[in-house]
Structures are given as C-alpha cells and as structure tokens.
C-alpha cells in the first residue's frame, strides 16, 4: 500500500470539512440568553445613574439624602427594546458590582454582569450597557451585598399605551434639575437621565418649553442632539 491513500484521505477530509464549516457558519444562530447582544440601533436608549452604597442602591435624588421616606433600591422601568447605559458611582470605599437576572430574585445561574468589579475609590464611575429586550420582571443586585443592594427592574411591552419610562413610573428617579414634571409627561418615549438632568429626544417643542434652557442653551443642547441622532453618551 505504501501510503498511497494519503491524497484520497486528504481530499475526503477537505470535502467533509468544507461541508461542515459552511453548513455550520451559515446555519441560523441560537440566541444565547447570557451573551450581551446589544443591538447597534436600539429602539430606545436610556441612561440611568446609580450610586453604589452597601446599604442600598441610590439614585441621584437619594444620594446624600437622609430623609428616610425616600426608599433606596429604586424600581426601574424601561420599555422593551431599550438599551440602558448604567453609570455606577462609588460612594463608600467598598467593592460593588451590578448584576441583572430575569425573575424577582437573584439568580446566580443565569445573570448578566452589567458592571464587573469596580474600583472602591469614592467617586469613581463605571458604565455598562444592558439590553432590556424581553418584557418581564428582573432583579438587579450587587453580588458583594446581595441582601441590601437589590432592586427590581420592570421591562414593559413596547406597545403598552402607558407612558413607560423612569421619570413617570418611578418617582424616585425624578431628576434633580429644574425641569418641570408637567413637561416631561408630554414626552412620547425615551427620556434619558444623565447625571441629574434629563435630556429629551424626539421632541424639540418640549425642549423649548423646558425651563432648563435658562441655564444656557449651549450646555443642554449637546447631549440632547447626540441622543436624538442615536449616539449614546
């Protein structure tokens, strides 16, 4: 025989590999639950800022507010199809992270690590994106302080007629700025809260009414325009 089948063996391997590789590569892909598949052009975007504190997550309003009537660990509401950019700001020199899992309780078997370990220096800021894809109830928590730093996220169906964004549904998240709530109620969708002021997209009329313009148009226009054109900031 003297190794005369070598070429045939090679040719068979080549043909089989081509069939397997081509078939595999163009076959439809199973969407994996845990991978962060962030769509490049999401229907909505949203920015949410949370202050990390071992006693519980704080919103910009709650941060530094000793009024016990304001609860920590806000309930967050998003429209399905929103890409949420979470900004977590360290406050208490302890390590934290931000995990999100589907369901009303923490689930270490299937969670998204939105923000991994953060540097425990007060003031340091981390951002992570999360895609609120399927309507349902989600839990967000810090793996280091899972009993105190835990809250709920509601992802509402995109076609729900109620105005479904943070500002309206969860009063805790009302921004510190000078915007009047009445104006915000008139927004159709996508309110973006960024570092304490809200930027409003798709609706320049509303913007013109907003008293925040008194601060000087230059400051507020830039982020608003970026959001309107789909650039996340």
């Amino acid at each position: 025989m003297n190794g005369s089948k070598g070429g045939v063996a090679f040719a068979v391997i080549v043909v089989l590999s081509i069939a397997v590789a081509v078939g595999f590569v163009i076959s439809p892909q199973p969407t994996s639950v845990l991978s962060q598949v962030i769509p490049p052009n999401p229907a909505y975007t949203n920015s949410t800022t949370l202050y990390a504190n071992a006693a519980g997550w704080d919103t910009p309003t709650q941060y530094g507010n000793t009024n016990a009537a304001i609860p920590v660990n806000p309930t967050l509401n998003y429209t399905a199809g929103t890409v949420v950019t979470f900004t977590v700001i360290e406050t208490d020199s302890l390590p934290h992270n931000l995990y999100i899992a589907k369901g009303t309780s923490e689930n270490l078997a299937a969670y998204y690590s939105v923000i991994g370990a953060i540097n425990p220096i007060p003031g340091s800021k981390y951002t992570g994106e999360w895609y609120a894809q399927t309507p349902g109830v989600y839990t967000y928590w810090c793996q280091v302080h899972p009993t105190t730093m835990v809250g709920t996220i509601n992802v509402l169906p995109a076609n729900s007629t109620s105005i479904s964004n943070n500002v309206v549904k969860s009063t805790e998240l009302a921004p510190v700025g000078v915007h009047s709530p009445a104006i915000q109620l008139s927004i159709s969708h996508a309110v973006n809260i960024q570092d304490g002021f809200s930027a409003i997209s798709h609706n320049s009329l509303v913007l013109n009414n907003c008293p925040c313009f008194a601060d000087g148009p230059g400051i507020n226009w830039i982020p608003i325009e970026q959001i309107a054109t789909g650039i996340r900031i």
Binding site: G3, G7, Q29, T31
Partner: protein, 559 residues
C-alpha cells in the same frame, strides 16, 4: 423496553469506541516503548530527542506519523497540510461570497450571513492559510537549508501547532461577523439575529494563534541564528532562510500591541471600560490593530519572495542575479512595513500630518519591491533557457500579479486617491492580486516542487497541474481586475449587495471566482489521484538540494 434497547445500543457503541481507542493507545504506547528502548541503547535519556536526531537527517513523507513525532519536518508537514485544508475551507467561503452577489439585492445569503462568511473567509485565509503555510514551509525547508545541528525545540513547536489549530477552530465556532479587524464597538455588539454573540470566542482563538505564532517565531529565529551548521555562514545563507528570519523578526516586533488590544477587548465583553464608544479609545484600538495588521499582510509575502529566489534558478539554469541586493531588499521591506500601518487609517481623522507621513512611508515601499522585482527580471533575462514547468509558471504569474498589486497599492497610498478608493473593491482587488498571485501561487509552486517528496516519489499529473495553474491565474486575474475597476468607480466592499450600476463588474468577478473554484477542485483531484499511483521517481527535490552532513556532531537535549 425501548429504554433498555436504547441503553443497549449506547453501551455497544461506547464499547466499540472504547475498543478502537484502546487499540490506538496500544499502538501508540508499544511504539513509544520500542522507541524508548532504542533511545536507551543509543545513550539517550529522552526518547523524543533521540527520535528527532534520527529523523533530522532523513527526508520526511506525509503520513499519519507526522502527528506523533516532533521533529521540525513533521511539524512542517502538519502545518502544510492543515493550512492547505483551511485554504480549501476559506476558499469555499470566498466563492460562496462571490456567487451570493448575483443580483444587487441580498438574495442567497442574508446580510448577517454574508458578514459571518466574510469574517471567516478573511480570518481563516490570513491566520490559518497564509500564516500556516509560511510556518509550515519554514519548518519543513529550513533544517535542510541551513543544515541544522540540532533540532531540540520540537515540543514547543508541537504545542504551538495544536493551539494554532484549536484557535482556528474557535474562530469558526464563534461565527463572528466583525470582519477580521475586530473593531470595537462592533465587536462588542451583536446583530439582531444573534451573530456576534460569541465574538469573545474568536478573540480567545486569535490570542491562541498569536501565542502559537510567538512560540514559532522564537523557535525558528533560534534555529536560524544558533542551530545553523558551522559550514553555513550568515553571509551565504540561502535567501529563503534570510526571508524567513526577517518575517519572524517582523512578527515578533509587531504582534505585541494587538495581543494587548485583544486582551483588553476581551475584558470589555464582561465590563466595557476600555474601548467604549463614548471615548476616543475606539480609534486607539484601530491603531493598535494596524500596528500588527500591516505586518501581517507582509508576513505571508516576504517568505514567498524568498522561495521565488530559491526555486527560480533551477528553472532558469543560472544563479540569482544579485544575492546581496536580494537580502537587502527583503530586509528593507521588514523595516518599512513597520512604518506604514497608518495608511489603513487615512480617512479616520488622524490628521493631514499623519496622512502625509504614512503616505510618504508607503511610497518608500516601492524601493525594496522594485529591487526584488528587478532582481527576478534580471535573473530571467540572463538565463540561458527558461523551463516552463508548472512551478515556474506560478512564479512568473506571481511576479506579474505582484507588479499589478504593487502599482495599485502605490496608487492608493496617495492621500487624495485613498479618499476615493478606500472602502471600495479597489482595495480588495489590490490585495487579492498579491494574496492569490504571490502567497497562494508561490505556495502552490512549492507544493508541486515538494510533491514527490511528500508522497514518497509519486509524480503529479502535469496536465492537471497545468489546468490548475491556468484556471487559478486567469480566474484570479479576472476577479481582481473586475474588482479594481469596479472599485475605482466606487463599488463599496464588504456589503451583501450593490447598486445595479455595478452589475457588470460583479458578474465578471463571479465568473473569475467560479474559474478559481474549478481550478482548486482540479488541484484536489490531482493530489488524490496522483497519490494513488505507484511511486515513479526519486524523492529528492530542488528545495532540499543536499541533505545535511551525517550527524556525527549531533548534540541534543537528551544526550
């Protein structure tokens, strides 16, 4: 009842697999014992280095034993045949891309599928075919070219081979759709159909390939600089050995930044902090990438220039026209190719000063390229007679393709022209001229030259080889010319569709792609059918002209 039957079936199947596995293990272990005994009787404590010293002075043929021995030639054969396998896979992807563009609107492949296949085609072609065949030929030919005294790094090379192979498999498994650049934020996002969800796997695969490349570079550089026979001085070392040395140095020098960048990108999958879209760091990734990305397109070219120098004299019957300018030219290519990475980023807003610097540096590449091409021409010019065998045809075609590919390259390094042609098929045409003509063509030439050795003295079918050559050369010419002309008119690259205006160019390119495909089928058939014949020639070849002196001086790790 049915459950028991199923269980029975499973256990029978498992037992059969076990028996086969046991048999393979028995063969393996009994041979290992025999080898160890033999090694001991020759005063070796390490059977592997005994095997390497025994095999070092012998020719190696392609059979399954190449996967068991770690001598350089076995490693080389592994790389050669595996990379050839990946050439066929990636080539099938390429032809799939081409034929999917029959009508202007995406029809055969969905846009997502097109992106995946495009990424797979490019990544596999570059890392698995071009790198693989470069490394394979280096491992296979160098021990003879520089008459190595010892060959004792085989385990490292073997490790490198396996992680390189695994890395390639990971890339396919990832079904990544980011093109071979892996630019963030695209690499960090998914498409709506879920492609790109496993991009992280591709990054791991690439890092594994990089680790393999680093190991290989160090082994090969050491082989050339330290394990050369005393009789081979650096000053008269074969040009091929020089070219491999330059290539490996180039790889070591440039791979670092992208390895780090990929590591950071990998981190970004879990905690996106480095290459976030909101910062300018995305541009930083492209810079880190192209610092390697430009050298990687030279790495598969320089050793093939060396191979041309090595093979051409046999077919022209005279010596290479100028040895020193050949080495100088290749060395200059090494230096300059590290200085031009910015020409891939001319339209990304680095600024006019940067563009001009990289544009000028790119123009300088003409000097070593012209030295090389004129050296070839002078060698052929002064030849008494040129024998037009299949390898020689591939060589001549490679030189012509390199001239065309080079001229299109110089044109697009002009900042103004680049603004028009970047992102069009012009660029695709430019590098397919070179990749198909030089990298692939010269690799085929070397494969034909080595075929009798690989197969223990079987001749390949000259007629089929001629057809293979003609179809590959003509097909790739048609395809690349259609691309460059269409691209100059503005046909965008890397999209699963085009404006109907470009129909003629796309159709011509499809014709070219199909011709190439038929050519490769003939090649595969030729390998299989010629190998079936009885040996009819001796196993020597022109690339391993004389075998190393008897290894009386063999010193190895085990002795």
């Amino acid at each position: 009842m049915a459950l028991y039957l199923t269980l029975l079936e499973y256990s029978i199947a498992m037992s059969l697999v076990g028996v086969v596995a046991f048999f393979v293990y028995y063969l393996y272990s009994s041979r290992r014992d025999a080898l160890a005994e033999d090694a001991e009787s020759h005063d070796y404590i390490d059977p592997a280095s005994y095997a390497r010293d025994q095999l070092k002075t012998k020719q190696r043929f392609a059979d399954w034993s190449i996967f068991l021995y770690n001598d350089s030639k076995s490693i080389g054969l592994r790389f050669i045949f595996t990379s050839l396998l990946f050439f066929f896979i990636a080539g099938a992807f390429g032809i799939l891309l081409r034929v999917s563009l029959t009508v202007p609107t995406p029809s055969v492949l969905s846009p997502d599928q097109y992106d995946i296949v495009l990424t797979q085609h490019a990544t596999l072609m570059l890392y698995m075919w071009a790198m693989g065949i470069t490394v394979g030929l280096a491992y296979y030919l160098l021990p003879t070219a520089i008459k190595v005294r010892r060959d004792n790094m085989g385990s490292y090379s073997s490790f490198a081979y396996w992680i390189w192979l695994l890395g390639g498999i990971f890339i396919v498994l990832s079904r990544s759709s980011t093109r071979w650049y892996f630019y963030p934020p695209l690499a960090l996002q998914g498409t709506l159909s879920g492609a790109g969800a496993d991009n992280w796997l591709a990054i791991i695969g690439l890092e594994m390939i990089f680790v393999a490349i680093m190991i290989i570079c160090i082994v090969v550089i050491r082989m050339i600089l330290m394990d050369r026979s005393e009789s081979v001085k650096l000053g008269n070392m074969s040009i091929y050995a020089w070219s491999v040395l330059f290539t490996m140095i180039l790889a070591v020098l440039s791979a670092g930044p992208v390895m780090i960048a990929l590591g950071m990108l990998f981190y970004d999958f879990f905690n996106p902090i480095f290459f976030t879209a909101s910062s300018g760091n995305v541009l930083l990734f492209t810079i880190l990438f192209w610092f390697w990305g430009h050298p990687i397109v030279y790495i598969p070219v320089i050793p093939f220039f060396g191979l041309i120098y090595e093979m051409m004299p046999t077919f022209t019957g005279n010596k290479v026209y100028s040895y020193s300018s050949a080495v100088f030219g290749l060395g200059l290519l090494l230096v300059l190719s590290m200085l031009v990475w910015g020409h891939h980023l001319m339209n990304s807003g680095l600024g006019v000063a940067w563009d001009l610097f990289f544009s000028t540096a790119s123009f300088f590449i003409v000097i070593p390229s012209a030295i090389t091409v004129f050296n070839y021409i002078a060698t052929m010019w002064t030849a008494p007679r040129i024998r037009m065998t299949t390898p020689m045809l591939f060589i001549i075609n490679g030189i012509i393709d390199f001239i065309i590919g080079g001229i299109t390259g110089v044109m697009q390094s002009n900042v103004g022209v680049n603004e028009i042609v970047h992102g069009t098929y012009w660029v695709t045409g430019h590098f397919h001229f070179i990749f198909l003509g030089v990298t692939t063509g010269i690799a085929f030439a070397a494969f034909y030259v080595l075929f009798p050795t690989f197969t223990r003295g079987r001749k390949y079918n000259e007629r089929l080889a001629g057809w293979h050559f003609a179809l590959t050369a003509i097909g790739s010419f048609i395809m690349s010319v259609a691309w460059t002309t269409g691209g100059f008119l503005g046909m965008p690259r890397a999209v699963d569709g085009y404006f109907p205006f470009f129909q003629p160019f796309q159709d011509t390119a499809i014709l070219g792609g199909l011709i190439i495909g038929v050519g490769q089928l003939i090649f595969l058939y030729n390998i299989a059918s010629s190998w079936l014949k009885a040996p009819s020639t001796d196993t020597s070849n022109i690339l391993e002209p004389d075998f190393p002196e008897p290894s009386g001086s063999a010193v190895s790790g085990g002795r």
